[in-house]
């Protein structure tokens, strides 16, 4: 309460137009206590597609850079953070937030925890952490918005790129975790959708055990004697360690894509079009690290909150919640982005990157859609995969 009133005061001092109507929207960022993805050694490995730091960094940058806009509209946003240890903790925190007058929740949590939080409150929940398609499909919720591109969007982006290169014969290598299995199914569906051919799907295992070399040795896994010929290797490795060196360990001199080599991401710090360098530079200046795809998604969550606050500066929270899913957002990717009505996913271009620069963008040139080409990435309206949405 004290923080909120201070924000109002600040808005009054700074804003030429901040009349007595200035409202402070409280936003709660739910984070995972002792998040294994944010451990120092994990962050230092900096695998492509993994978080580079806390989600609060991106949201903070978005809120700070919008100060002028918020002041001009006579609005303010305060961000509070809460770390939770499990799904129950997420549920309790969400319920408490609603009682405390919070206007929106940003979830930097695993899917099940996010669902627990979302089921405890009708407040809008912005997902910036979990790319699982089930959260947009069978486990979707009407009031959850997804800033991070779904796995299916990433797989579609990659498949479109392969089609445009005519790299049609795909050797799939999939990791051992349950997440890998889920993502492999998504990749296989994308391969089918774009009429590519999966010459084989082979499981790999990270191991130094000579008895397991059929699973662990990249040269054996990709030898033409075992798998025939292929144009490209698509590796699914949610952990990241096996994929990291794969581009230079396979039997044939072929490109690797997926979780190493060429990766489809929401953002890459070297992206140099559409004002992207300014965004990456502001982020790096504020945090001392390069802006990752997760950071971009968190930043976009902040941008969405700002846009909702300036659209409904006087509140109430219900007006703020109502305007959130209808926003047209600018995320420095060259086109206006908005939330899909059918699953709450932010439609967006994706960047194909090798980690050093941006090689291509998706949707690929020539991939068309009757309404919006961005909807060639991920689940489309006629599929009706989310029953909670009209």
């Amino acid at each position: 309460m004290i923080r909120a009133s201070r924000a109002i005061g600040l808005a009054l001092l700074l804003g030429a137009h901040a009349a007595a109507s200035a409202a402070a929207f409280k936003v709660l960022l739910l984070e995972r206590a002792d998040d294994p993805q944010l451990e120092r050694s994990t962050l230092e490995r900096a695998y492509l597609g993994h978080p580079g730091g806390p989600a609060a960094d991106g949201i903070d940058v978005a809120l700070k850079e919008a100060q002028f806009e918020l002041d001009a509209a006579g609005a303010a946003i305060t961000l509070e953070r809460s770390a939770v240890a499990d799904a129950q903790g997420a549920r309790d925190a969400a319920a408490r937030a609603q009682k405390a007058g919070v206007a929106a929740i940003v979830s930097n949590l695993p899917g099940d925890w996010l669902l627990a939080a979302a089921d405890a409150t009708p407040l809008p929940v912005l997902n910036v952490a979990d790319a699982a398609d089930r959260l947009r499909e069978r486990d979707c919720r009407a009031h959850v918005l997804h800033l991070l591109p779904s796995e299916r969007m990433r797989a579609d982006a990659l498949a479109q790129t392969l089609v445009s290169r005519r790299w049609n014969q795909v050797l799939l290598l999939n990791g051992p975790s349950a997440l890998d299995a889920e993502r492999t199914a998504v990749a296989q569906a994308a391969i089918k959708r774009y009429a590519l051919k999966a010459v084989q799907t082979k499981p790999f295992k990270l191991s130094a055990d000579p008895r397991e070399r059929d699973l662990a040795n990249a040269a054996l896994l990709t030898s033409t004697a075992n798998v025939g010929n292929y144009d490209v290797v698509w590796v699914i490795d949610s952990d990241g360690e096996f994929a990291r060196s794969l581009p230079y360990r396979i039997a044939l001199p072929r490109p690797v894509v997926g979780d190493a080599g060429l990766v489809a991401l929401a953002w890459q710090a070297q992206f140099e079009r559409f004002g992207a360098p300014q965004v990456s530079r502001r982020f790096a200046k504020a945090t001392g690290r390069p802006m990752t795809a997760h950071d971009w998604s968190a930043w976009m969550a902040g941008k969405a909150l700002v846009a909702a606050a300036t659209a409904a500066p006087k509140g109430p929270a219900a007006a703020f919640a109502k305007t959130l899913p209808t926003l047209d957002l600018d995320g420095s990717k060259g086109t206006t982005m908005s939330f899909r009505a059918w699953d709450g996913q932010l439609r967006q271009p994706l960047l194909l990157t090798d980690g050093q620069g941006v090689i291509a963008m998706a949707p690929a040139d020539g991939v068309l859609h009757p309404k919006n080409n961005l909807d060639t990435l991920g689940a489309d309206a006629p599929e009706k995969l989310c029953k909670a949405k009209p």
């Binding site: 030429a16 919008a66 806009e69 001009a72 530079r281 047209d328 600018d330 086109t335 206006t336």
Partner: protein, 323 residues
């Protein structure tokens, strides 16, 4: 008329009006070349390049027409080029990451947007001193000084605002909400209307400079092109204020607009990502920089037809004509 006859007629028309056309040159800045390309306006051929500072973007002539100021984003300075000798005569510091600028009517003060800092800087050209920096919304871009020099307008791409800044005091007098990602300005000759392009709004907002109310919003539509690909940036007007020309970015077209009725009269197909536009003195030709096809399209204004597309540098930004 059979097509070949039409072509011959057009050819004669071109030849006939040839001598009346500009004898001068166009200087074209290209973001990735650190150089300006020089185009002969008579032959429409590239005659050479001028080395300049790093990442040249916005350019403008001094009021006497003798010097060309080139804002260089990576050099944090303007290169001052003597038009007659085509040599750099000095560097003018412009603060961090300068993008666009405008000059006071007396040519003494330069107003520049510093993209990274989110500031408008006022610079004394003679001494090179930064007189004042004014905080504005993030990623400020377009700058325009009023005819009397009393106010300067600045767009912020992130805040979706036009800032109205008093040049004497540096105070922000007004923040005017316009469309998404506002970019560039044109001012009617009577100074009454300020036209602002909205890159992600596929529109131009027409503001009254009296009370900053929105007089109108022009929405652009190009057949066969989605609204999200219509991204207007560059804009200019004829001296009589009757016609405006708006580059529509990724729609790869330039719109000719009748200012009084605010209706699009023609759409001209140009290169990829049509960016900044400029008219020659006779207002017979419009030069359009195409940022994604590394070329420049010359349009015949009377017929609204492209005459020629000239390859220039990498990522061309804008052209300035000297006649």
């Amino acid at each position: 008329m059979p097509p070949f006859v039409a072509r011959i007629v057009l050819l004669f028309a071109l030849l006939a009006c040839g001598p009346a056309l500009a004898q001068g040159v166009a200087f074209v800045s290209s973001e990735k070349d650190n150089a300006l390309t020089v185009i002969d306006l008579k032959t429409l051929a590239v005659t050479g390049t001028i080395a300049t500072c790093k990442r040249p973007r916005h350019m403008q002539l001094t009021p006497d027409g003798k010097q060309l100021l080139v804002a260089c984003g990576e050099s944090n300075a303007a290169d001052v080029i003597d038009v007659a000798t085509r040599k750099s005569v000095r560097k003018l510091p412009l603060g961090d990451d300068p993008e666009a600028f405008d000059l006071s009517p007396d040519g003494k003060t330069l107003y520049v947007t510093n993209e990274d800092e989110g500031e408008l800087s006022m610079i004394d050209i003679a001494s090179g001193k930064i007189l004042r920096s004014v905080k504005v919304g993030k990623e400020p871009e377009g700058v325009k000084v009023s005819h009397d020099g009393a106010v300067v307008w600045v767009t912020s791409e992130v805040a979706n605002l036009v800032h109205v800044i008093d040049t004497a005091s540096g105070k922000v007098l007004n923040n005017v909400k316009v469309g998404k990602r506002p970019r560039r300005f044109a001012l009617t000759p009577d100074g009454a209307q300020l036209w602002v392009t909205n890159e992600l709004g596929a529109s131009v907002t027409v503001l009254s400079t009296k009370d900053y109310s929105v007089i109108d919003t022009l929405q652009f539509q190009v057949k066969g092109i989605r609204d999200t690909d219509t991204t207007p940036v560059g804009i200019t007007m004829t001296r009589d204020g009757k016609r405006a020309f708006v580059a529509l970015g990724r729609a790869n077209h330039v719109a000719f607009v009748d200012v009084a009725s605010r209706k699009v009269t023609d759409l001209v197909l140009v290169g990829k990502r049509a960016w900044n536009v400029v008219l020659d003195k006779a207002e017979a030709r419009l030069l359009v920089c195409n940022g994604l096809s590394d070329d420049l399209t010359v349009i015949d204004v009377a017929s609204a037809k492209p005459l020629k597309t000239v390859p220039v540098g990498r990522v061309p930004y804008m052209a300035v004509i000297v006649e």
